[in-house]
Amino acid sequence: MLIETDYDIVREYTSGNRETAATAFVRKYQKFVYASAFRYLQSYDDAEDASQEVFIKALNNLHKFRGESSIKTWLYRITINICSSVLRKKKILSVFKFGPQEDAIDLPSEDATPHENLEKNEYEEKFVKVLSKLPEKQRETFALRYFENMTYEEMSNMLGTSVGGLKANYFQAVRKVTEMMKKDLN
């Protein structure tokens, strides 16, 4: 039996077919949750740990899901809460740590030459840093629109911001990213 829709997932999970439903659930939303966590935490390792926590928390509370919002919105809220908590912990820990911090952006492209990979990595690092410098609302809006291709209506439901406000945030985010990244291109 195919488990595709959110309704199927919740029904199968609560009726006892937990493992299959959990697999379908994670596969459906893993990219979204992982990407959201990565943009928040700027580390692949932290994003993976946080994503696991998000899914475990969500699956443990799936029976409480009332369907008042979409599962995607619900998952996004859980992701942001967990990532905020991880960041807080990291900030506290960083007070007691000395020396260079771990940099997690470490995945070279298979197609590019080593030189191209190096350049790509530098550009990527720069981009991730630029994103982290954006105000939270702008960063969230940019990520959901640019990376997740969400509509303004979906984002409005998810973030509780008006469509007009989201368009303004998106424009400002794109403008700032362009401004900060164009120096590296030249």
Binding site: I56, L59, K182, L185
Partner: protein, 237 residues
């Protein structure tokens, strides 16, 4: 005039905000028409459009999607492992607790009973201490006289009287015939015995604790007799 310029400014801002969707090709036909009209009227804005296009064409090459897909591909396996192994552990822990707890409790009770530390009849500590006291008395005294229902006070007195008669007979002394004479002689006998015993104890250097031990072996009736005799002893002499 001011309100007109305000509206124009607001309109201009709203149209400018269409820039990202225009560059990334996610704009509706109506909005596209408005935006291109605005660009024709404001050619300086075209530069900004070009810059955005250039920067994001480079960002597009970073293959973020590919990386995210690669990095998150085995997430479902890891989540399932953590989720269901945790559940299995919790379940096994619960089951072991469910069965182990009664077994352990039973074992402890059995050990306590075997060691005599768990007495169902004397659960209350007061009752227990009283019974212990009685048992120690029984240990130190002639238990038969307290426990054996067939042995009466009369039997004990009879035994003492027989012993007294045997001793006088063996010593070649007269044996009183009437009750009054017997009572007088026995009173004298027990008095002498007590004095002799006391003298003997002090002569042999027995300690107070030894005396107490001997006193513990004396029958209750004998003890009462001794106490009566002691009242008559002139301590000063």
């Amino acid at each position: 005039m001011n309100s007109n310029s305000e509206i124009k400014k607001q309109d201009s801002e709203e149209v400018q905000e269409l820039l990202p969707d225009y560059v990334f090709g996610r704009i509706s036909p109506e909005d596209k028409f408005s935006f291109e009209n605005y660009l024709n009227e404001h050619p300086e804005f075209q530069n900004e459009v070009n810059e955005v296009r250039k920067v994001f064409s480079e960002i597009g090459k970073l293959d973020f999607d590919k990386k995210i897909v690669l990095k998150s591909r085995d997430l479902s396996v890891k989540v399932n492992e953590r989720l269901f192994s945790r559940r299995a552990k919790l379940r096994s822990g619960f089951l072991s607790l469910k069965f182990l707890a009664p077994v352990l409790t039973s074992l402890i009770i059995i050990i306590l009973i075997i060691n005599g530390k768990f007495d169902f009849l004397s659960w209350d500590s007061n009752v227990s201490s009283k019974q212990n006291a009685i048992m120690s008395v029984l240990d130190k005294t002639d238990a038969a006289t307290l426990v054996d229902e067939n042995v009466t006070e009369r039997d004990i007195l009879q035994e003492s009287a027989n012993q007294f008669i045997d001793e006088r007979f063996n010593a070649g002394q007269n044996i009183p015939q009437d009750d009054k004479s017997i009572a007088e002689v026995m009173e004298s006998y027990f008095g002498d015995e007590l004095v002799n015993n006391a003298a003997g104890l002090s002569a042999t250097g027995e300690s107070d604790s030894d005396i107490y031990k001997q006193l513990n072996t004396i029958d209750e009736n004998d003890l009462q007799e001794i106490l009566k005799e002691l009242k008559n002893v002139n301590v000063a002499s």
